[in-house]
Amino acid sequence: MRVLIAKPGLDGHDRGAKVVAHALRDAGIEVIYSGLKRTPAEIVQEAVQEDVDVVGLSILSGAHLLLARRVLDGLRAQDASDIAVVVGGTIPPRDVEPLKELGVRDVFPMGTPLPEIVKAFRRAERQGSREGGEG
């Protein structure tokens, strides 16, 4: 299984993104980390190019609804809607449902335990669509 952890937008806080990346890697998942300040278009391109199962967006600026929508639209436009998108960061509880309505598979607001996050990524693995199996 292969995932992309990405920081869209302008927010420079990457502690959460890096901690999640470490935890996924320790769980045997292949992790690509985008680095800071990626545009939604860049994230979509990298996700498609690297053929990942899941894109994890980490957003602490409050702009999560807009940025998640841009990434989901971008994946759809590339015919890559089978790549799941999950979102973590400072997401107020009231925004969890709206994010899911946009098509976000799972949302990890502040305080979500790491094992739950790892499990959610596992659940989002695509079934039998790629060669090579576990990465």
């Binding site: 420079g12 990457d14 502690r15 890096k18 409050g62 940025l67 502040m110 305080g111």
Partner: protein, 531 residues
């Protein structure tokens, strides 16, 4: 008996006694408050003569909205300001830049031109109020705007007290608002320090921040070690420009955190002051005692707080204030209890301010200088912390020094590693957090909705965009372009860029235009992504 460790990683004994002070020389290592090496604080009488400054971090929406909140806090006894800027401003993007979409006025106030800084400080006399500007990559243009507003208000330069953060190295390590590559970024830091030292003698043109690095996950000892290493890098930078150390060192200030174990935090600051004083005096040859003083804002970080049962954060804030007072803070700022949910509400801000005031006026923590001095525990911790900080400084040296370690990404990787280790210690319960991993309540997090959520108003963006369009239409674009061309030209050379920046600011050039004028020469930083 359960083994306990400090955040720095060394063991804590169940009791301490005189035998733990072996090797400590009172006169040499501890001394008296206000005397070298300032272990016990930088002033002789500490808070009996002057209480710490209370400076909550605030800024959101338009400059006009932020101006109202400034006045609200000042009406309740806050004596200084600490301005938060939105991300486009911090990154040198105008509000109408496509990359700014959705982020205008979101995590701080939006600034496009001098007109915005004029609005933010309307009715606030800049020759009497001291203002911190939490700005780094764009510190030079934003501080130039601030100086221009002060000038328009008629404030004498020698009465202007401002502290632009201007600490770009920690942005590369932790906070991420870098723009240009490391070397030109350092040049801008030095340009602002030099310009301010010459023209605005009471400004503090750099605030070296361990705070954000700790928030990103490093240990207490690393927070102090990295801060000291960064300060040393800036001192060296100014010396290579031919400035004498005593011409700028007295105005270097610091910004550190004090959440966690109270006694360890106090020891961290006592050890840090001692190390800084020795470094400035012995290594850099400073002879003005003010150059030896580690003057610090001490605050808390959001990472001290929890999203579960948010009211508990008010109690955590009180302990942070106590630690800051016992540690000898010059300035204090506390996170607000609702910080994990939202931009702070006025009520949450007022509670944070009241927490500091109660600590100052009622608790007795401010009654005498360094009240923990002589405690077997605190003195032993101070010695142990000093040793650990020195060890960490040695590790930075082995990475090639702080600037090289930042360029290679080695220091960022170490901070991320520590963040993950900390997360694991939380998961096992080794680091206890009430209502998070011990004494957990039966209410799910979603139930904790007793927090007034800030509603981001899309009209904020519209108002900001309309104002920017108006300024672009009203100003003399020929003059603006000439000032921007000059800025690009001088960026190619080695002159101090504050002069051309000031000229562009006064012509109402936008922040994005000034950033771009320099980007043409400097290029953009490429992050060394390491996990």
């Amino acid at each position: 008996m359960k083994e306990l460790k400090t955040h720095a990683g060394f063991p804590i004994a169940p009791a301490y006694g005189p035998e733990d002070l072996a090797g400590v020389d009172f006169e040499r290592d501890i001394g008296r408050p206000g005397e070298y090496p300032f272990t016990r604080g930088i002033h002789k009488h500490m808070y009996r003569e002057r209480l710490w400054t209370m400076r909550q971090y605030i800024g959101f929406g338009t400059p006009e909205e932020t101006n109202e909140r400034f006045k609200y806090l000042m009406a309740h006894g806050q004596d200084a300001l600490n301005v938060a800027f939105d991300l486009p401003t911090q990154l040198g993007l105008d509000s109408d830049d496509p990359k700014a979409e959705g982020e205008v006025g979101r995590v701080g106030m939006a600034v496009d031109t001098l007109a915005d800084m004029e609005a933010a400080f309307a009715g606030i006399p800049l020759d009497r109020v001291s203002v911190s500007l939490t700005i780094n990559g764009m510190a030079a243009p934003i501080t130039a705007m601030y100086y221009a507003v002060a000038e328009k208000q008629g404030a004498a330069p020698e009465r202007v007290v401002t502290t632009p953060q201007n600490d770009i190295l920690k942005e590369f390590i932790a906070r991420g608002t870098w723009i240009y590559p490391v070397d030109p970024s350092l040049r801008l830091v030095a340009d602002l320090i030099e310009f301010s030292a010459r023209r605005y003698p009471r400004s503090n043109p750099v605030s070296v921040c361990g705070y954000h690095i700790r928030e990103a996950g490093c240990t207490t000892a690393q927070e102090m070690a990295y801060g000291l290493a960064i300060a040393a890098a800036y001192v060296e930078l100014m010396l290579t420009r031919g400035m004498a150390v005593d011409d700028f060192a007295p105005r270097i200030s610091f910004n550190f955190t004090a959440w966690g174990k109270i006694f360890e935090e106090v020891a961290k600051f006592r050890a840090g002051r001692r190390l800084y004083a020795r470094m400035l005096r012995e290594r850099f040859g400073a002879s003005n005692p003010r150059s030896w003083m580690f003057r610090s804002l001490i605050g808390g970080g959001g990472s001290a707080f929890a999203v579960q049962e948010p009211e508990n954060n008010i109690v955590r804030g009180a302990y942070i204030a106590l630690a800051g007072a016992l540690a000898g803070a010059q300035t204090m700022a506390l996170p607000t209890y609702d910080e994990a949910y939202t931009i702070p509400s006025p009520k949450a801000q007022l509670i944070a301010l009241r927490t500091m005031q109660i600590c100052a006026e009622e608790s007795g923590a401010a009654d005498t200088a360094d009240p923990l001095a002589g405690s077997y525990y605190v003195e032993a911790l101070t010695t142990a912390m000093e040793k650990q900080i020195v060890d960490e400084l040695g590790r930075v040296e082995r990475m090639g020094g702080i600037v090289e370690a930042v360029k290679s990404g080695a220091i960022q990787a170490e901070v991320a590693r520590q963040a993950y280790l900390y997360e694991q210690r939380m998961a096992t319960g080794e680091v206890p957090k009430v209502a998070v991993n011990c004494h957990v309540g039966d209410q799910p997090v979603e139930a904790d909705r007793d927090v007034e959520l800030y509603s981001f108003d899309p009209r904020t963006t519209e108002a900001q965009l309309a104002k920017l369009a108006r300024i672009r239409a009203q100003r003399d674009n020929g003059v603006v372009n000439a000032t921007l061309d000059r800025l690009t030209d001088e960026a190619r050379g080695r002159q101090n860029l504050l002069e051309p920046i000031m000229e562009a600011v006064k012509a109402y050039a936008t922040l994005g235009e000034m950033a771009q004028a320099m980007r043409r020469v400097f290029g953009e930083h490429q992050e060394a992504v390491k996990l």
